[in-house]
């Protein structure tokens, strides 16, 4: 038994010690400068399998025009992106240029360059004004609007016709049509409602804002309000009356949209890239794209803009960063990038170039009515994760009021 004594002792110590590793993250510092020129570190998320290649093309073109600047590209999945950036900042190794969602926290910690300091006047003036406003913290723009998306209702025309249902414009019509489609049976769901952790905040916005509510503004996050309650209660009604797929509270968006593409869901809210997904996976699907139904039928869409931002670090790369942004946002470089990923452009020149693009038309139409997450509020990240963790509880015993209260509490606790 002596061998157990030693083996057991060693393994017990090792395993117990690995507990300690769970919550510490340290990123190694990579990307030292090569040669005499400046090196820019670029940290970006992967939007699709083609993202890395698209960036490589941009960087190759840029390095050809600016031989004294090297660009280091690091691509991470969306799931890891935010822990990677937090780890890098904690380790004093922030990238120079970062592509992400929320940035108010970085601005608050005074880590970012104001956009006007790292772009030429022409580039800055080319952004859509609404998007610039959405990227400001305390009157200063910290994020460069990068790509935009809007939401719209994808409708399976074949299923609606079979069920004798109309394309809805209001909540009541949506409930009625969805129930008719659900009644077809055979596992068909009327309305696909993804309240799972993947993107619960988006479905929450679709319903709460569609009923006249909001998540607050740059100063305060307000979730627990009477306006929002109307939307939350209607979500509960949709679920309780069987208008949605089963287990709405724990269904993630992407897998559910796969089922829409397979033709088993009557209606679901989708994004511009969803068009491409249907095109490649099930081109025979009979579908059409409509504005999202709201309580009173007024037009509305959830707009999302991701941003590029420039970290100050040692403060010695301002010129190189400016050169990169000016190159990237020139229409000939920027538009192909946006198009390849299937999103919408945030620059005026980009919109002009894409004006006659048919697949994007339904989305460009609703874009003027877009509302955005209050992402410049430093508490938005807490709200975002509270929605992801808690909003799905509407599918269960908890009342709509309790769910909103719990989300608000978690946001306030920060």
């Amino acid at each position: 038994m002596a061998q157990y004594k030693r083996l057991g002792g060693i393994m017990a110590i090792t395993l117990a010690a690995t507990t300690g590793l769970t919550a510490c993250g340290f990123g190694g510092s990579t990307g030292e400068a090569t040669g005499d020129g400046t090196t820019l570190d670029l940290l970006v998320p992967s939007y699709s399998d083609a993202t890395q290649g698209n960036w490589d093309d941009v960087i190759a073109g840029f390095e050809e025009e600016n031989p004294d600047i090297d660009v280091n590209l690091q691509v991470e999945s969306w799931d890891n992106l935010e822990s990677v950036i937090a780890t890098k900042i904690q380790g004093g190794d922030a990238p120079d240029i970062y592509n992400g969602g929320p940035f108010a926290g970085f601005a608050e910690d005074e880590l970012l360059y104001p956009v006007e300091d790292v772009t030429s006047d022409e580039t800055y003036a080319d952004f859509q004004p609404t998007f610039l406003e959405n990227a400001q913290v305390g009157g200063t723009t910290y994020g460069l609007p990068f790509i935009a998306s809007a939401r719209a209702l994808f409708v399976n025309d074949a299923l609606l016709e079979e069920a004798g249902a109309e394309v809805p414009a209001t909540w009541d019509e949506l409930l009625e049509s969805a129930k008719k489609v659900s009644d077809l049976g055979g596992g068909v769901a009327g309305y696909g409602m993804p309240l799972g952790s993947e993107e619960a905040q988006a479905e929450a916005a679709v319903w709460l804002w569609g009923g006249g509510g909001s998540f607050g503004d740059a100063e305060s996050i307000t979730i627990d309000t009477p306006e929002n309650l109307a939307g939350a209660e209607f979500v509960k009604k949709m679920i309780d009356e069987g208008a949605t797929q089963a287990d709405a509270g724990a269904t993630d968006r992407s897998p559910l949209f796969d089922i829409f593409v397979q033709g088993k869901v009557g209606m679901q809210v989708g994004l511009p890239p969803s068009v491409g997904q249907i095109e490649s996976d099930n081109p025979d699907l009979e579908y059409s794209i409509h504005p999202i139904p709201t309580e009173d039928g007024s037009p509305f869409t959830l707009g999302v803009a991701d941003h590029l931002m420039a970290f100050q670090n040692d403060g010695d790369k301002q010129e190189a960063i400016t050169a990169f942004f000016d190159y990237f946002y020139s229409a000939d470089v920027y538009v192909p990038w946006v198009q390849a990923e299937g999103f919408l452009p945030t620059t005026l020149s980009g919109s002009e170039q894409l004006a006659d693009e048919e697949a994007l038309a339904p989305f460009l139409e609703v874009l003027p009515d877009a509302q955005f997450y209050p992402s410049t509020n430093p508490d938005w990240q807490a709200a975002d994760s509270a929605f992801k963790a808690l909003f799905g509880q509407l599918d269960g015993k908890k009342s709509a009021q309790d769910v909103l209260t719990e989300i608000q509490e978690q946001v306030d606790a920060g």
Binding site: M1, L21, S83, I89, Q393
Partner: protein, 291 residues
């Protein structure tokens, strides 16, 4: 002292390695747990034990801790019983034993995340193979299947089943190794004395397995307590905190809420819990002593 100086060149590298990969991260974890760290990772100063108060004051903390205990006890218990049976079987000579022994290793050889994902997809409504099977044989009446991984109770139960499945090989082999050290004479003596099969097993063989079993249980407790991937995959999309253990909660603090300080505080608590469990276990069962 002189001996120590002489030994230093030999043990130095090992000590340095342990300091770098074990002591330093543990120290940093303790340090982080007393700091206020912003969401973007900037250290905003010390806050004493406030992070611990927040973590323990969280309304779901005690249910989560209780669920962690259930998780460890059920998984380790089922693993042990299953492994004892499997090891007893594999210790008998029968045609094809080598193949069966190889087969038992498979769950161990494949990635835990992969094994869990296979089961997870199998349980998906609409296209999961397990769900389709249950629908086809008529056990589930809804045509798209049942959302096993979308209800806290069933998702947790399936996660435990997967955890037992992946823990079996190691435990089985540890016990099998123990079985092979049981002297044949003792079993033979029992048989001559007229002891029945079960009596022989429980009174003669099992006591001699004490060393192997107690080491296997100790390692399993630590391993299962610290297991994240299975629960992460099986219960990841469930809203609220009704299917979380301490480990998935640490992960939620870190990944979803990006509160590295709270995640560190809960990790420290988990670390201390494991240390206490191991200390009590070692004291009571004395697994590291000779039989």
């Amino acid at each position: 002292m002189k001996d120590l100086a002489k030994a230093l060149p030999w043990i130095g590298p090992a000590v340095a390695l342990i300091a770098a990969v074990v002591l330093f991260p543990v120290g940093l974890m303790f340090w982080n747990s007393t700091r206020d760290i912003s969401q973007s990772g900037v250290d905003d100063g010390g806050v004493g034990l406030a992070n611990f108060a927040t973590v323990i004051g969280f309304q779901y903390f005690w249910p989560i801790l209780g669920r962690t205990v259930v998780w460890v006890v059920v998984v380790v218990g089922c693993t042990l019983i299953g492994s004892l049976a499997l090891a007893a079987l594999l210790n008998k000579a029968f045609p094809g034993r080598r193949l069966v022994r190889m087969a038992v290793i498979v769950p161990w050889a494949s990635s835990v995340v992969m094994t869990t994902l296979v089961v997870h997809y199998g349980l998906e409504p609409y296209f999961g193979i397990i769900n389709s099977f249950l629908v086809d044989v008529g056990l589930i009446s809804t045509p798209e299947g049942y959302g096993w991984t979308r209800h806290p109770g069933t998702a947790f139960a399936w996660a435990m089943a997967v955890a037992v499945f992946v823990s079996l090989p190691f435990t089985t082999y540890t016990i099998l190794a123990g079985l092979q050290t049981v002297p044949g004479e003792t079993v033979e003596a029992a048989r001559i004395d007229g002891a029945s099969g079960p009596r022989t097993y429980f009174s003669v063989v099992l006591p001699q397995l004490r060393g192997a079993i107690s080491v296997a249980v100790l390692i399993n407790i630590i391993n299962v307590f610290n297991s994240l991937p299975i629960l992460r995959v099986m219960t990841g999309s469930i809203p609220g905190y009704d299917a979380d253990t301490v480990m998935t909660m640490i992960f939620k603090y870190m990944q979803n809420q990006r509160q590295i300080d709270l995640a560190s505080a809960l990790s420290v608590i988990a670390f201390l819990v494991v240390i206490v469990i191991v200390a009590v276990y070692v004291r009571v069962v004395r697994p590291l002593e000779e039989v």
